[in-house]
Symmetry: C2
Subunit: 162 residues, 2 copies
Amino acid sequence: MRQIRTELLTQAEFAPFGDVLDATGAPDRLINQGFCGRFHDRARLDFGPEGRAGLSIFKAIPRQFPYRLEMVERHPEGSQAFVPMSADPFLVIVAPDVGGTPGTPRAFVTDGEQAINLYRGTWHGVLTPLAEPGLFAVIDRIGTTPNLEEHWFPEPYTILPG
Amino acid sequence: MRQIRTELLTQAEFAPFGDVLDATGAPDRLINQGFCGRFHDRARLDFGPEGRAGLSIFKAIPRQFPYRLEMVERHPEGSQAFVPMSADPFLVIVAPDVGGTPGTPRAFVTDGEQAINLYRGTWHGVLTPLAEPGLFAVIDRIGTTPNLEEHWFPEPYTILPG
């Protein structure tokens, strides 16, 4: 079975796929009499011509390594941001598009203080927390037209800690 | 000094001010082969005619009780959602509007697994985490026109645990 080792999530490595949202570096503004740093407008949100932003809550069952990756999906009509509501690392699987199908996936693990925003159309694995409670806020496109493509790999991948 | 006791945050009590976003009750959909519950489109987002959705990260210094409340603010042009990125309770202060100025504030404490969305125009206190890391994702209106009104109380309130 094909194996993939996880990498630590960084903005540089994740740049082809989406945004890493965190509070590293200097804030864009200090607000609230200096009590709060604002890292301003850090996600390339895109809900397409027919969509609008929605905020949903996802509660997912935590997974363990080795993780068996059988499919990835993408949303052609909108970006999708995942904000963890606990300070726990989670697994983020993405893949480049190669002529309309996913190429070799990459697997990232967050540092516990990162959210992500997948760009519109990015191939990605389903939400895979690594710890309870598996609770996330999701900012994605609400609309009436189809917005999901799935790709099942002919042979699954095994994801292992890097 | 005027004192206010905190209340536990519930959707029923918070309804005049905004949405409580959590994973209580049955999910609207089961997705990802049953591994994930989706509580779908739970926030009344509103970014006004000239605005768009933005996703920012706030990092705020935790506060303690008794908390001295000197001002509230509101955003006439948009809603503002606060998603905690750690499973810690935080303090949410809101006030009804009474003829253009805030009435008596109310103070809520979340249960550690709740996010909130303040409706457009709701008077509210600044972001007040009660624990480190004080990290939040904020979904609010990005635009070019003014979107902040502040009200300083002639006499501060003291917020005490309920």
